[in-house]
Amino acid sequence: MTLLNPSVSIKNLDLSFGAVKVLQNLNLDIGDGEFLVLLGSSGCGKSTLLNVIAGLLEPTDGQVWIKGRNVTWAEPSERGIGMVFQSYALYPQMTVEGNLTFGLRNAKVPKAEIAKRVARAAEILQIEPLLKRKPGALSGGQRQRVAIGRALVRDVEVFLFDEPLSNLDAKLRADLRVELKRLHNNLKNTMIYVTHDQVEAMTLADRIAIMKGGKIMQLGTPAEIYGKPQNLYVADFIGSPSMTFFDGTVEGDVIRIPDHDLPLGTYEFSQRPATGRPAIIGIRPEHVMTGDNLRSAPYTAEVTADLVEPMGSDTLVHCAFGGQTMRVRMDGQAQVKPGDRLMIGIDPGAASLFDKETEARL
């Protein structure tokens, strides 16, 4: 997807440390006001990419454009970006106010203007009572708010977040996530957000870029990424617990997996494979139907529960199916014990089919 008027644009970006290629020929356009999440496991190059956009790392080749300006050689402070770090990176010897104003004082912004911007940021983030305190006297959540405030007062077009919530405990992380989303809705700035947490990615993003080995594996809306993963890596990475994969062969309108022939009548092929082609079908635990939903299932089977993981809101049942241990997500109210027989239904229309050789979606 090429955007007509991208806010941030990465063009043919390469970055290597010696022989190690961290980013390889990377192209990415980020729209105005878009919330883009760079998602991947550690070492995939997502933070490196963010640092290159910020100007904290020099690319080996390629360009970075922000707001229609080639900023590849520009200093971080000249790029019109604000950045929030995982460890907050607040200046410990300055007060909160000092932290917020440090960049503005460096840029010789007039005093009245500084006061105005600090007041606005403090109001948005509700940190007015903290302005005179030192970072050491703040809690983790408050520190992260101040760090966001430091980006906010800069009045920039683009916000960069480098795993900003990873140092917080689970409850606070969920709270701040909602606040970040609200902030984006109000400010309408372009935001680029690096995380390894797929829940954060799914909930916050307009679009997600899933990265692996310095390349973008798939770029799309959360719904696309979740519903139509373009390759096996993305399919396996997104979703918790992840899909169960079955090896099989496509033969006409069915995929033949061990002990079962699943009908593919409802599946939307992007490219129909030749008969006999080895393929992999991935089924999400939440797409396996049980109970009342069974009636609409194109294919049903009886299985035995092996292991039951109650999680409160829902219950995860492991059972043997098609030569694999399949995970089935059931209602939290379901009374299932190991050894119970249960009927499951599968709709291949909701599943994902991949070519075994290329690992690309069929």
Binding site: A54, L56, E75, S77, M83, S87, L90, F102, N106, R150
Partner: protein, 314 residues
């Protein structure tokens, strides 16, 4: 909101709990005079005594008059306390033709110490900051070269330095000696500062760069306010090192008028003419050691903190 059922169960449980409490309960009692404690504290006491005894002898002797010293009870406290030896050591003791005591050496040492310490700490801190935060192509090589300098014995370099100073017209002057001290303090202090700055989170540095701070702004406004402990350590290392230096002082100063205190002390104590005035020698030695002592006592906790901070990361 205890209902009857719960109350009943607690009641029933009370009996066995009381019985359980008969055994060991709460913190384990500590025996103060256990065998291992006696051994540990005994050893510590003996070792402390062993270390403190020479100092005691020095202080006591420096407060005695010569007749009392000749009696020979070196451990005995002074019968008659006199500060005359201290006054003599400071004002009147003779080295060669000068008979104005250690005071001359003290002021010489002071004139060497102040610029040497300020210059070396200032340069080393910037070096360490640049080498840890602003890595450039070849910065590691540069650092390794600097480190190699720390391991070459000083004696090897004495003669070349004499020649260099002579060519520069600085041989024999205090300025020349200051330059030598600054140069030789560089490796260890750069290492110290580099390691300290390397332990400061990199994100802090990145945040400052995004905030538009340059090389000096980050150094003075972000890094310096955070690095008091390591400055104290560097200060102590430099002050004691330079104050106690004898080799450079005796090599690079050409006339007795410019000898630092340590060299002058040596000349007083080792003078072969006349009577050996032990009390004056002891007083002179204590006077010479006073500056590093004061520094240690004044810095205290900061020193320990700084040593720990600078030592962690390699």
């Amino acid at each position: 909101m205890a209902d009857v059922g719960i109350l009943a169960t607690t009641k029933a449980a009370e009996q066995p709990v009381a019985a359980l409490l008969d055994g060991p309960r709460g913190p384990k009692p500590v025996r103060r005079f256990s065998r291992s404690n006696i051994i540990i504290y005994g050893t510590l006491f003996v070792v402390a005594l062993y270390y403190a005894l020479p100092l005691y002898v020095m202080i006591v002797t420096s407060l005695k008059g010569m007749p009392e010293i000749r009696v020979g009870n070196i451990f005995a406290p002074p019968l008659e306390v006199t500060f005359q030896p201290w006054v003599k050591a400071w004002q009147e003791a003779c080295t060669g033709i000068n008979c104005d005591g250690l005071s001359r050496g003290f002021w010489n040492s002071f004139q060497i110490l102040i610029p040497s310490v300020i210059l070396s700490v200032a340069i080393a801190s910037v070096n360490g900051y640049a080498l840890s935060m602003w890595k450039f192509r070849g910065s590691e090589v540069f650092f390794t070269l600097l480190m190699i300098g720390a391991f070459i014995p000083y004696q090897v370099m004495l003669y070349p330095i004499v020649i260099m100073l002579r060519e520069a017209g600085l041989y024999g002057s205090l300025t020349g000696l200051v330059l030598v001290h600054v140069a030789f303090g560089m490796p260890i202090n750069t290492l110290l500062f580099r390691n300290y700055f390397a332990s400061i989170p990199e994100e802090l540095f990145k945040a400052a760069r995004v905030d538009g701070a340059g090389f000096w702004a980050i150094f003075f406004r972000i890094m310096l306010p955070m690095s008091l402990p390591i400055f104290v350590v560097a200060l102590i290392i430099q002050v004691t090192g330079i104050w106690n230096d004898f080799l450079f002082g005796v090599t690079f100063t050409s006339s007795p008028e410019r000898y630092p205190m340590t060299v002058q002390l040596n000349n007083i104590v080792n003078s072969v003419q006349g009577v050996k005035e032990y009390n004056v020698n002891m007083a002179a030695t204590l006077l010479t050691g006073l500056v590093p002592l004061v520094i240690y006592f004044a810095s205290g906790k900061l020193f320990v903190r700084g040593i720990a901070a600078g030592a962690v990361k390699g």
